[in-house]
């Protein structure tokens, strides 16, 4: 059972480039989330989704976009990468909106 799978695990971008972080879960969870983690700051919610076709902004959505066309996939798009987007990104899913979060292994992004 794979759980939550994120790709890529590592990526270096140049300022102004764009990319998509992929997230797939095979647990049939309706709720999915994208967090970013900066040293000493905990995890900050970027976007979340309560089901296919429904997404909403979290605490730090600027510079990012998401889509949710299927239950399994929740990609995070970075447009015009900036050094402030250097971070570790975690995708998570949950069977309920108030239950345990299942995290992917994370994607470490560096913008130079």
């Amino acid at each position: 059972n794979a759980g939550v799978t994120q790709t890529p695990k590592f990526r270096i971008l140049k300022i102004g480039q764009s990319m998509t972080l992929q997230c797939t879960q095979d647990m049939n969870h309706n709720y999915m989330y994208w967090y970013r983690q900066d040293p000493g700051m905990g995890l900050k919610l970027i976007y979340y989704s309560v089901g296919a076709g429904i997404t909403d902004k979290g605490e730090v959505p600027n510079g990012y976009n998401v889509s949710r066309s299927t239950t399994e996939d929740f990609p995070l798009r970075l447009e015009l990468a900036a050094p402030s987007q250097t971070s570790v990104y975690f995708c998570a899913s949950s069977p309920q909106g108030y239950g345990e979060l299942f995290f992917g292994e994370g994607s470490r992004l560096t913008v130079l």
């Binding site: 709720y31 989330y33 967090y35 000493g40 700051m41 905990g42 995890l43 900050k44 919610l45 979340y48 309560v50 909403d56 979290g58 605490e59 975690f90 909106g97 108030y98 239950g99 345990e100 979060l101 299942f102 995290f103 992917g104 292994e105 994370g106």
Partner: protein, 110 residues
Amino acid sequence: QQPVQSPQAVILREGEDAVINCSSSKALYSVHWYRQKHGEAPVFLMILLKGGEQKGHDKISASFNEKKQQSSLYLTASQLSYSGTYFCGTERGGADGLTFGKGTHLIIQP
């Protein structure tokens, strides 16, 4: 609003006890606790729902004081494997995910 965790860091000898606190200025529906090892994803420990319950498994337990909007995580007879960063995540009742504290770094020395 981000919950406040204390202490920021703690160093223990193996076998000693630790308490990590998490407090919020907002009314909470639940409090989650996660542990993260360096370079890894956070791993779920437990959820406490409003109602002031207390939970535990093995030598790790937690309580949730709904009136004070505070939760505490108790680690007794700590083991080397307990080392890591502990995060509390708070939930206010919607489906909009958890708000995490900044974390407490726990170092267990032999």
